[in-house]
């Protein structure tokens, strides 16, 4: 008896979820839903159909968990509460400042519908949050550090693409090695934005575009680039496709803490991800939490949950007995 999964949206993240389902025999893809014309969306899984989002309410009895592949800016604030009243849902909502509000909305809807809604699942927020939280509980006196990369920031790449004269672009976020070394060494440095990450931009300019002007506009862009040491490299469209097609990412969370009556002993906890495909890894995390949503719902739980509220055993297809025997 497999867990019946529906996916809303069919962007990179949804495709990552679809791929993850093929690696989890206890899960089964039932349907993909789209705002576009369903006939224009072709998915990888044989024998599974694409439907209009409008048809979703008709699938109430056919889907155990609906995974939302949409974006945090406009999709999820609306979709997750809406569907949490009808389905167990999992999303990757990542606008940190708006999490309390999103939590409240999803909690109300899920409780009203007797369903489970798990929000902010992925790696940051997600696995990184989990490690920050547990490490801080274990070592209450210390500092947390989060570094991202080396990896592609889609938000920053999009920001460059919006500049006049830019045909395409890819932006890599890169941790500053010297700062990372200080943290790993237990020095607990205070690090400015500039001291934590650099930004590497690979840009394809339109023919005849003013490259100097583009470079200046990138480097001076507030929020995105002006607080960072940024390098801009103009390359051909062919090179962008050949060398920068993937969506690798990663990063690490460090907790540097002390113990002992004199605080004399230092401890460093590091969690480190190196991901060839950001959306496929994130999709894999979403699917593991979909399994948890299914089980929690079967136990009668309702309401909004985050990664902090879910006992790790719910993520695994193995029984408690098997986990204790093979993983403990």
């Amino acid at each position: 008896m497999s867990i019946k999964i529906g996916i809303l949206g069919y962007g990179n993240l949804s495709r990552g979820v679809e791929a993850a389902i093929t690696q989890n025999p206890d899960c089964e893809l039932v349907a993909v839903f789209t705002r576009r014309d369903p006939s224009a969306v072709s998915i990888k899984t044989a024998g599974v159909s694409v439907y209009s989002e409008k048809d979703l309410p008709n699938f109430k009895d056919q889907i155990d968990v609906l995974i939302l592949g949409g974006g945090s800016a406009t999709d999820l604030p609306e979709q997750t509460p809406k569907y949490a009243s009808m389905f167990n849902v999992v999303d990757s909502f990542d606008t940190h400042a708006r999490i309390p509000e999103h939590y409240a909305n999803v909690d109300k809807a899920a409780k009203d519908g007797g369903k489970i809604g798990i929000i902010s699942v992925g790696w940051d927020p997600g696995m990184f949050s989990l490690l920050r939280m547990i490490s801080t509980a274990v070592l209450p006196e210390g500092e947390n550090y989060t570094f991202w990369g080396r990896g592609v920031s889609q938000g920053h790449s999009d920001a460059i693409r919006r500049i006049k004269g830019v045909k395409d672009a890819r932006q890599y976020t890169v941790p500053v090695e010297a700062s990372v070394a200080k943290v790993r060494n237990g020095e607990n440095p205070s690090l400015s934005t500039r001291e934590k990450h650099t930004r590497e931009c690979f840009v394809v300019a339109e023919e005849g575009a003013d490259q100097a002007a583009i470079e200046k506009e990138i480097k001076e862009m507030p929020n995105y680039f002006s607080d960072y040491d940024t390098t801009v490299t103009f390359i051909s469209e062919e090179d962008l496709k050949a060398d920068h097609a993937g969506l690798p990412h990663g990063g690490f969370v460090l907790r540097s803490g002390v113990t002992g009556h004199e605080k004399e002993n230092k401890h460093i906890i590091e969690y480190n991800l190196k991901l060839d495909s950001n959306p496929e890894f994130t999709g894999s995390v979403l699917l593991a939490y979909a399994r948890a949503a299914y089980r929690l719902h079967n136990e009668g739980a309702t309401g909004c949950k985050t990664i902090f509220d879910i006992a790790p055993a719910y993520l695994s297809a193995l029984s408690g007995e098997e986990l204790r025997k093979t993983m403990l």
Copy 2:
């Protein structure tokens, strides 16, 4: 209203728990219990008394959680089930092969007494198990690797001390860097015991002892050393005290997995600990799980739990709302 903690035993691990309590204002040390003469045991915490283990049953109403600092060979198999019927208990049982049996015994006792027993808490088993389990659930196709060190193995140090002519010894377990590099590089190597760790022994010989014989006996000791590349260095008692007094340890758990319809994308998850004091870190983990035991019991839960069964939020003194706001 603080969580009232009792500690059974007063070895290195119990002292680590005692130190951790000073860093967690919601926890309070109520009493330490010993099999020795209580008047011969002097603890660090002012105003707290040491009692005979025999007095423990009289403290049923004064202790919220009893943390067991004993060893896995003979103490915990007897103590944890015994006291789980009277107290919420947390132990660091680490004999992997006997965990299912220990779990069953503690589960029965805790259920009979309406208490919570959390077993096998620490970093391995413990945090390492948690990371192995979650990483495997997220990346079901891949390999797990665990490396320990560089750090002091107390079991191996004790084994050397039992050799005739040895006055004192300290053994370090050291990961083989070349093997670690292969794993981090996603090569998924098959590694023999010898390829994973080396063992460095610092030995103080009795005056006139046959050092060559001691070295031979160490290097050929089955289970402990014969399967490893082992180095033996004879040093003075003064140097042992000066340079090898601490109990540092650490290590890392890696999951190397693949995703994608063609398994074309690699991912490496690494969790890495560098600990100045193994017992203080382990004691800090035990205390965080004592907080979880207290809360689970207050919610009416009973029986044996492991680190897999406990939602991370139970470990933190912060509320769910605070955690979502600051850590997610």
